[in-house]
């Protein structure tokens, strides 16, 4: 075993990939491998988090991430509680704090938070005793998505360092992109990003990322192609002429996939918009690992929950 390997996470929360060292990322991925085996058993449940309560607090719609966290929590025998709050009923600021304080009063061990505002998890982590796990905050980070992407890449390619990873799509509104770029550069991959000029945030080049508006250049010789969804719900105004034109210019088609390495894998964090950012036959193609990503999400989230659950609850509420 590597002498420099991490044996624990140094923080109580998982707010973003930015806070993790490369060794900690590898620890999460290694732990997730053990967790994946639990999902292959006849009885897919271990008693590890018995007596712990995890609250899934989702201020934004989500199917995949919330389901995935809930299955992960249940497989570890935690008691889970889902609080789904429609975006319309929530105003930023005090309301979030008040909601959190009310939930905190019921002494959960962990809160899994998704919120429309960047930084919501940081805010909660300062006022809550419970460990906060970021399940996506605004346009900031989505750390468990990046971790499950990395897990899927490592599972397929045996490594992450040195791989050319092309990320194509709506770069401006993507928290998945931010978390992935941080993770990929920490583990020594060679990330390329590609999208319409209007959807390229300033400063990307400073992160050591190759930026292009030509999809063929991004995909050329890539080991991994990661597609991002057009986040129309976050767009006010015209960032590009039409979805049809977007597909013609940036959509992942079989012809474009052919420019990548023969053993390329195609990834997508979901939800997929067939015929917008990715052709239907690519989604269902042999190189697509999109459903592996979903399956791996459970194992990775089990690993995060386990690693953050260390130690006894220091306080019980009457």
């Amino acid at each position: 075993m590597d002498a420099t390997a991490a044996t624990a996470l140094s923080q109580k929360n998982l707010l973003g990939i930015a806070d993790l060292s490369p060794e900690e990322i590898v620890l999460v991925l290694d732990t997730a491998e053990a967790m994946k085996e639990v999902g292959r058993r006849a009885i897919k449940k271990v008693p590890t988090l018995r007596g712990r309560t995890v609250v899934n607090l989702f201020f934004e719609p989500s199917t995949r991430t919330r389901t995935s966290f809930e299955i992960a929590e249940k497989r570890l025998s935690a008691d889970t509680l889902n609080v789904a709050i429609g975006t319309s009923s929530v105003v930023k600021g005090e309301t979030l704090v008040d909601t959190a304080l009310n939930i905190e009063a019921m002494a959960p061990s962990m809160i899994v938070l998704r919120h429309v505002s960047s930084g919501a998890c940081h805010l909660l982590s300062r006022i809550c005793k419970a460990a906060i796990i970021n399940a996506g905050d605004g346009m900031h980070e989505h750390p468990t998505q990046a971790l499950l992407d990395a897990f899927t890449i490592r599972e397929r390619k045996g490594r992450i360092g040195g791989l050319k990873v092309a990320i194509v799509g709506d770069l401006l509104h993507s928290r998945v992109l931010r978390s992935n770029l941080l993770l990929l550069s920490k583990l020594g991959a060679e990330p390329w990003v590609c999208g319409p000029a209007t959807l390229i945030p300033p400063g990307l080049r400073n992160l050591g990322v190759r930026v292009t508006t030509k999809v063929d250049e991004a995909v050329e010789g890539a080991d991994v192609v990661m597609m991002l969804r057009m986040q129309l719900e976050r767009m006010q105004g015209g960032y590009f002429p039409s979805l049809r034109e977007y597909f013609r210019t940036f959509g992942m088609t079989q012809e474009r996939v052919a420019r990548a390495k023969p053993d390329v894998i195609i990834m997508h964090p979901g939800p997929i918009n067939r015929g917008v950012e990715i052709a239907s036959e690519v989604v269902d193609g042999p190189y697509s690992v999109i459903l592996d990503q979903v399956a791996n999400g459970v194992a990775v989230r089990m690993a995060v929950l386990y690693l953050l659950a260390g130690g006894a609850d220091d306080e019980t509420v009457a």
Binding site: A34, V38, A42, V46, T48, R50, A309, A312, D314
Partner: protein, 178 residues
Amino acid sequence: MPVVMDADRISRAITRITHEIIERNHGVAGLGLVGVRSRGVPLARRIASLLAGVAGEEVPTGALDITLYRDDLMRAAVGPQPLVRKTEIPFSIDDRTIVLVDDVLYTGRTTRAALDALIDFGRPKAIQLVVLVDRGHRELPIKADYVGKNVPTARRESVQVRLQELDGVDEVVVEVGE
């Protein structure tokens, strides 16, 4: 630092246990070996290769990590979580006699966790326990079926089993704790 077993004694103990397993089970048909991580795994593999030599039949062998079943996980003050490693049992344990292999039997809590973990994999016909060293001080009603050596110890002492596969040397050492 008294060495209570050297390479020779370890090897003879494992050979004897192998023969005891065959005698007690009237052969090796329907047996499966499961080593408890870390040092139970190389011990189980050694027994497997001896069984294959003596009985001329391969006995399926697996590795069990009991971390997720520990009873002290969430009780300690905030500290690092123990590393979880992979459990690999590449055969069905249903209706097999499972020979569970560990290096040291002490409080019995690891064995309790291993039994709980095994039951989640299926319903074995029976479970038997092999340990290289039984050092006493049981806290649970658990007893080994095959013992390499009984080593009377004090609680403040610790028993270190070192194996070629993981530590580069075969020996069992009793060390005095703090």
